[in-house]
Amino acid sequence: MWNLKKIVAEITHAGVTEAIAFEKQYRLKSMNLLCIIGILIISPYYFIFSMAGLWYPVIVVFLFHVSFFIVIVLNYFKYYSAGNYLLIFGTNMGILGMSYFIGFDSGFHLYFLTGPLFIFWIFDLDQKKLIAYAIALELVFVVMVFFAKAYTVAPYSWEQVGSLDIYYLNMSFNLFLIFLLFYNYTKYYQLLTDSLVQKQERLEEEAIKRIKSEEYTSKLFKDLSVSYKNLEQFSYIVSHNIRSPLSNIKGFVSLYEANEHGVQNDHVIESIKESAEQLDEIVMDLNVLLSAKNLLLENKRVVSLSGAIQNVGVSLAAEIQHSGAIIKEEFERDLNLVTIKTILHSILFNLFQNSIRYSKSDRYPEIIVTASKTEEYTEIRVSDNGAGIDLEKYNDRVFMLYHTFGEKTEGRGIGLFLVRSNVEMLGGRISVESKINEGTTFIIQFKN
């Protein structure tokens, strides 16, 4: 019927939830617990004193009980410091009062042992020092009692046996208090260390977060400067490639106005039409380039390189068949990349298309894809046996928009620009090795 454990637990929690700091919470708990145990431990004294007919000490024990009880009530109503002082004051007065009846030697035992415990509560002292202090005082007291007894003429008489019993009871109480001190100490220390470890973990977490945000910022800055470079190139294109047909139109129009003969005018109109078509084509190119940026909105996922190559092969089926091109995969079958599929497809598509377009007419185009994975990078090499690029001449222009290099001018100078911006979008980098008439190798590195 009486769940003692539960009742004790509930009483010890009096006022605890409201105390915020865990140290305070813990101190409150042990304070409440001490009061309960104090009440229980002192209870037998009612019997002992009443059996002996000592009614005055019974009242002292009762006051002891009441003060313990009041401490718990005060804690419950959040008067923490009042509880603290009452416990210290009440207990000390109680012990002094009891000492008067049971003999000051054992009374002081209690006093010296419990005193430091309360000092700890008030001043929040280091518990190690406190225990050392308590034990030292105990030893001093034992020595004092020893000498006092040695020089006392009269030894203990039978009348004092009763009080001797009380002395042993006191000793058990003392031992319990020592136990409580140690218990307190280890528990408190445990909590303190836990909180320190937690604090450190929190700090570490924060540091990692900070480093990550710094990395993010520098990545953002890099992305931004790449975008800026791209934008600069864009404005250059706008200034040249869009202005080029426009200025033609402007020129032809001026010829039309100055011209009286109908025959020449037909030429002029035809040329204006052609220029307009050129302009349209360029604007469409720009559209393609701009829409490529939207690909970044897709999520990264695990993509099989071999699968991606196969997909590109399907997209380029007509050109592959027409040219008789062969695509060889020289890497581990199960090589995977964590990437944006559409962008990888676009990169491989443009590289393969270039290889086929700029192949040598005396041999079938052969594209070899090799790939390797190190801890840091995944490297993909796309090599062909095509016409090659004169890198000494065009080194800085290979990846630029509207630059073509071969004798064949089938290409419009968009592919490699798109490839580079795609690779950069994925945070990778691309470089090129080439020998005229032997072939070209594009090396792409993605950070893992």
Binding site: Y236, S239, H240, N241, R243, S244, P245, L246, S247, N248, K250, G251, F252, S254, L255, A258, N259, Q264, H267, V268, S271, E274, S275, Q278, K393, Y402, H403, T404, F405, G406, E407, T409, G413
Partner: protein
């Protein structure tokens, strides 16, 4: 160079439409000027290197061209050592291109497309003067 021949100008531009327009314009305003157009700068170089070919008075040069661009052409042209005026005729009004052209001794003028009657006349006045004096 024979003085009896008609004065000649080169147009080097990868865009055939531009060449077509320039030809039409000059035929109209200066019918007595001979015109040669090249869509590849390399071809113009080959033509210039050939000794028996008539040398132009002025070369109109585009800057943005595939394979060999205007600057590449200028580097090669310098090696030939011919004393011919070069006028940049481009659709780029980019300031960096203009600065680069100003620094190049052989480039005498920078004209933004399209070429106009006035622009061509002023070029003619500047560089055909010797011819007129004779």
């Amino acid at each position: 160079m024979t003085t009896s021949a008609k004065p000649m100008v080169f147009f080097i531009d990868d865009d055939p439409l531009s060449n077509k327009f320039n030809t039409m314009l000059i035929r109209k305003i200066h019918p007595d000027v001979e015109i040669k157009t090249f869509t590849k700068a390399e071809d113009a170089l080959i033509d210039l290197k050939e000794e028996k070919n008539q040398k132009p008075e002025v070369i109109f040069l585009d800057l943005n061209m595939p394979v060999m661009n205007g600057w590449d052409f200028m580097a090669e042209f310098k090696k030939i050592g011919l004393d011919i005026e070069v006028v940049v005729l481009t659709s780029s009004n980019d300031s960096s291109d203009k600065e680069k052209a100003e620094k190049n001794d052989q480039i005498k003028d920078y004209v933004v497309k399209p070429l106009t009657k006035n622009a061509f006349s002023s070029v003619v006045k500047k560089f055909f003067r010797n011819k007129d004096d004779e």
